[in-house]
């Protein structure tokens, strides 16, 4: 499903060059639940960003469903992200000025889905994460766990095949973290491919496969 070959990522400033990822070769199969672990600054999020087409590698190729994406233009990459990938972030990244349901609708805005069905799909997604009673609320009125569930609803509303989660439980207590993990496992059971960055060994143990990074290199 996702195939990374000889991926290298270098961050350059005027005086410093930092190798964030070095010779990463990875294949994620459809329906897998993969976790990525490693110390802070080892390149986990960079790797996730490259898999999610949010960033470009300095070297190497990224294939999504057998298609090389390096030649794709902004518009095509945007369409691919919109249709195939859902994102969940540690700090939720909800838009505070929009209500819960409006936040969840965002991916559908860029698919030209009409207003009525858009709202229906958003409500369905919120129901799935147990937040159908909070649709008119604003992010500031929600707890951390509720915010993350809204973020999950936003990630799944467009029914993407792949869900990329960057430390989805990092800002939550263990009970809430478990709840979020249960939701992700449920989504995986329904067929979604999930790649999750985590610092938590217990969470990682609940996934099918663990990838360990150290200083930008894959060690497991």
């Amino acid at each position: 499903m996702i195939n990374l070959t000889n991926i290298e990522k270098v961050y350059r400033t005027s005086s410093i060059e930092t190798l964030a990822l070095n010779n990463i070769n990875l294949n994620i199969r459809k329906g897998e639940f993969v976790s990525i672990m490693g110390p802070s600054g080892c390149g986990k999020s960079t790797l996730l960003n490259i898999m999610g087409l949010l960033d470009e590698p300095s070297k190497g190729t990224v294939e999504l469903d057998g298609q090389r994406v390096s030649t794709y233009r902004d518009k095509e990459l945007a369409r691919l992200r919109n249709e195939k990938i859902g994102f969940i972030f540690q700090s939720f990244h909800l838009i505070n000025d929009l209500s819960v349901v409006d936040n969840v609708e965002i991916p559908l805005l860029y698919r030209s889905t009409n207003g009525k069905p858009r709202q229906t799909y958003a409500k369905e997604a919120l129901e799935k994460v147990g937040l159908s009673n909070r649709i008119k609320h604003f992010p500031k009125q929600l707890s951390g766990g509720q915010k993350q569930r809204v973020a999950i609803a936003r990630a799944i509303v467009g029914k993407p095949e792949i869900i990329l989660a960057d430390e989805p439980t990092g800002n939550l207590d263990s009970a809430m973290g478990n709840e979020i993990m249960n939701i992700l496992q449920g989504l995986n059971d329904e067929g979604a491919t999930i790649i999750m960055v985590t610092h938590d060994e217990n969470m990682a143990k609940r996934t099918h496969r663990l990838i360990r990074l150290f200083d930008g290199t894959q060690v497991q």
């Binding site: 999610g52 949010l54 960033d55 990244h93 000025d97 409006d102 860029y110 467009g158």
Partner: protein, 414 residues
């Protein structure tokens, strides 16, 4: 999608009330100045009282003669005789009026001197224009043929000369420059900004001192050619030019030997701009000043707003990152920010519209411009709306471009 953008724009406005106040204050003030300016330009160039037929009128204001080497030229208004021969004789025009530009005179009420502006006209002047007669009627061909010493005066002159009286002054005597005239009509005055119709007192051209019998081509008269309909303007202009082409060349006028004669009949705006044609330096200065004023009025506030918008947009980096991550193409996002900016500009435009109404009401009632009738009509409103959109676009595009260059991963880190 549009409602989503507008919701966000509204929330962003509410987020920092002081910021919003400064932004809207700047936009409203700028747009108010532009709207008042638009209203003033409409007042200058639009079809308004009493020149309500400007859309089908051609103005003949001056004649230009040049010597054979085209190094020397002379220009100015024409003689009554010349315009009678070359303009009055037009067959394609519905009507042609010949009148002088504005002349100055004095009248006395007791020992008090009243400075006034006068105009000699033919009877067609009252047909080509549409003055409101508050009392009496205009002079006609018969009055002119009889050389009757009659005048049409404005309500303002009536007030100054006869005092604030409600009673009719028709038939009363007016003494101007030691000559006596009988008032035949009182009209609502024309603004000073419309020199073809502006005056305090209107005389038939056969009254004394009009110089209508002067021979030669040059004199103190101008003409307005009224076409039957707007689409006839070209036909009338062509016929007039064919008449001008019949002027025998070369010739001598007041000792000046000319080999070329140019007399243009133009719509009002072209005629106004055309008066600058003779002097290239003056034209450059005129358009330079206009360009500078426009730059100051639109450019500088727009640049200022660009800075405010850039810092506001950068505050929203996380939102931009999220929208991009979930599939918003750069172009769509740019439109979002431009639409948001236009929405804010339109709110500013609404405030500016109210402020403009107040300002033009003040101008109209202040007497700075006699008989000023500045309005916000459909034309002014549409131009103002266009100015709002241009302003919104100008101040929105650059921040939107800057935003579109944000890398998703970096935007999400902020």
């Amino acid at each position: 999608m549009l409602s989503n953008y507008i919701k966000i724009a509204w929330k962003v406005l509410l987020r920092h009330p002081f910021y919003t106040f400064i932004t809207l204050f700047g936009i409203s003030l700028t747009l108010t100045v532009l709207m008042v300016l638009t209203s003033f330009l409409d007042h200058l160039f639009g079809s308004h009282y009493p020149e309500t037929k400007r859309d089908r009128s051609l103005y003949v204001m001056q004649m230009r003669t040049q010597d054979s080497t085209r190094t020397g030229s002379s220009s100015g208004p024409m003689s009554f005789k010349f315009l009678t021969e070359y303009a009055k004789s037009l067959k394609t025009a519905e009507r042609v009026t010949i009148c002088t530009f504005v002349n100055s005179s004095n009248a006395y009420v007791g020992s008090q001197k009243i400075k006034l502006n006068t105009k000699y006209t033919d009877a067609d002047f009252w047909e080509v224009t549409e003055f409101d007669f508050l009392e009496g009627k205009p002079y006609n061909e018969q009055n002119i043929a009889n050389s009757d010493q009659v005048v049409v005066i404005t309500d303002d002159f009536k007030k100054h000369y006869f005092g604030s009286t409600e009673a009719s002054v028709i038939g009363k005597d007016v003494e101007i420059e030691n000559l006596h005239y009988r008032v035949i009509g009182v009209v609502k005055g024309s603004p000073v900004t419309r020199p073809f119709t502006y005056a305090d007192v209107y005389y038939p051209y056969t009254t004394p001192k009009s110089n209508y019998q002067r021979t030669g081509m040059r004199g103190g008269y101008v003409a307005i050619l009224l076409a039957k309909k707007t689409s006839d303007l070209k036909t009338v202009r062509d016929e007039f030019q064919s008449h001008i082409a019949r002027i025998p060349l070369p010739g001598v006028e007041d000792g000046y030997k000319y080999a070329y004669v140019e007399v243009k009949s133009e719509p009002y705006v072209e005629n106004f701009v055309g008066t600058l044609n003779g002097n290239k330096g003056l034209k450059t200065v005129f358009f330079g000043i206009i360009a500078f004023i426009m730059l100051m009025l639109i450019g500088l506030p727009a640049i200022n707003l660009v800075n405010v918008n850039v810092s506001r947009i950068m505050e929203r980096a996380s939102e931009i990152g999220i929208r991009k991550a979930f599939g918003a193409p750069v172009r769509t996002l740019m439109w979002q920010f431009i639409i948001e900016n236009i929405f804010i500009t339109l709110i500013g435009g609404g405030i500016a519209l109210v402020l403009t109404l107040i300002v033009i009401q003040l101008i109209n009632s202040s007497g700075i411009i006699a008989y000023a009738d500045l309005t916000i009509n459909l034309n002014v409103f549409l131009v103002s709306l266009l100015v709002c959109l241009v302003f919104g676009l100008l101040s929105g595009v650059l921040p939107a471009l800057r935003m579109s260059k944000l890398k998703i991963a970096e935007a999400l880190k902020s």
